[in-house]
């Protein structure tokens, strides 16, 4: 059992898989955008090198909810169908979409924001 972390590697791979034209991905204040809202690496699942990395991928639009639904579907297609390319010996065992949460933020003085948070669990092994 080593002292290896898969977090950075998975973050890079997910960010890379989500990047496409027409949508901002990552640190920006513009819309529509996709963000890796949070990413969490589990403790070791066995005596070898199996881990799970849970992430929440967020879609935000200031126009319409249909936009975020479509962006989320495209995110999932990219993460499930395209290979998440990990390096340093890490391999993806499986990508499991989980809970999906929709939020509509409305404030008197601000624009309406449509947000969709998709939980995804990625099992990795080195």
């Amino acid at each position: 059992m080593g002292l290896f972390s898969a977090l950075g590697n998975v973050y890079k791979a997910v960010r890379s898989a989500l990047t496409r034209t027409g949508v901002y991905v990552g640190e920006t204040a513009d819309y529509p955008r996709v963000e890796i809202h949070s990413i969490t690496e589990s403790e070791w699942l066995d005596k070898g090198s199996l881990k799970s990395v849970s992430c929440i991928v967020e879609c935000i639009s200031d126009k319409r909810i249909a936009d975020v639904i479509e962006m989320n579907a495209e995110n999932l297609r990219r993460m499930l169908e395209s290979q998440l390319n990990l390096d340093k010996g890490w391999k993806v065992v499986g990508v499991i979409p989980g809970q999906l949460q929709s939020l509509t933020e409305t404030t008197d003085t601000k624009e309406i924001l449509y947000r969709l948070l998709q939980n995804i669990t990625i099992y990795v092994q080195r």
Binding site: M1, W44, L45, D46, K47, G48, L50, V93, T121
Partner: protein
């Protein structure tokens, strides 16, 4: 001194006296159980029951994340179950990084009595293996005469 369960692993080997120890890849946990029969030899000399040790027995069990690669040890265990053959295993700690010498644990010959797969949605497939030890296991550190 106490030792972490992570360090006491299950290995497959080729002989009862040693060989190359290959870790059962995907292992989550294992257990090794020893028991001895208690034969009652009570008489009327005392109100308390008296016993002597009878036949001894040992079993082992290991839970792994299923891996059916033909070159991996799990396949060797499955093959042994199918063919009714024995396997040689070591459960314990090898001395030092890359060492092939047991420092503590039990080296034994066993038949595979159970191999159960569980395939849950959204989780990594697991496999539970039960072993019935045949003959005396070799304990490390060695048991004196």
């Amino acid at each position: 001194m106490a030792v972490l369960g992570n360090e006491r692993r299950c290995y497959i080997t080729s002989t009862k006296t040693g060989g190359t120890f290959t870790w059962l890849k995907g292992e989550q946990n294992n257990s090794f159980n020893r028991s001895a029969e208690a034969i009652e030899v009570s008489d009327k000399s005392t109100d308390w029951t008296q016993f002597i040790a009878g036949k001894k027995n040992a079993t082992a069990s290991v839970t792994v994340f299923a891996d059916d690669t033909s070159s991996e040890p799990q396949h060797q265990l499955l093959t042994a179950l199918h063919k009714g053959e024995t396997v040689y295993c070591f459960i314990g700690k090898l001395g030092g990084t890359g060492s092939q010498t047991p420092s503590e644990g039990d080296l034994f010959e066993a038949i595979v009595t159970e191999c159960s797969d569980t395939n849950d949605f959204g989780a990594v497939a697991t496999r539970s293996i039960s072993l019935q030890v045949t003959g005396e296991p070799t304990h490390y550190p060695t048991i004196g005469d």
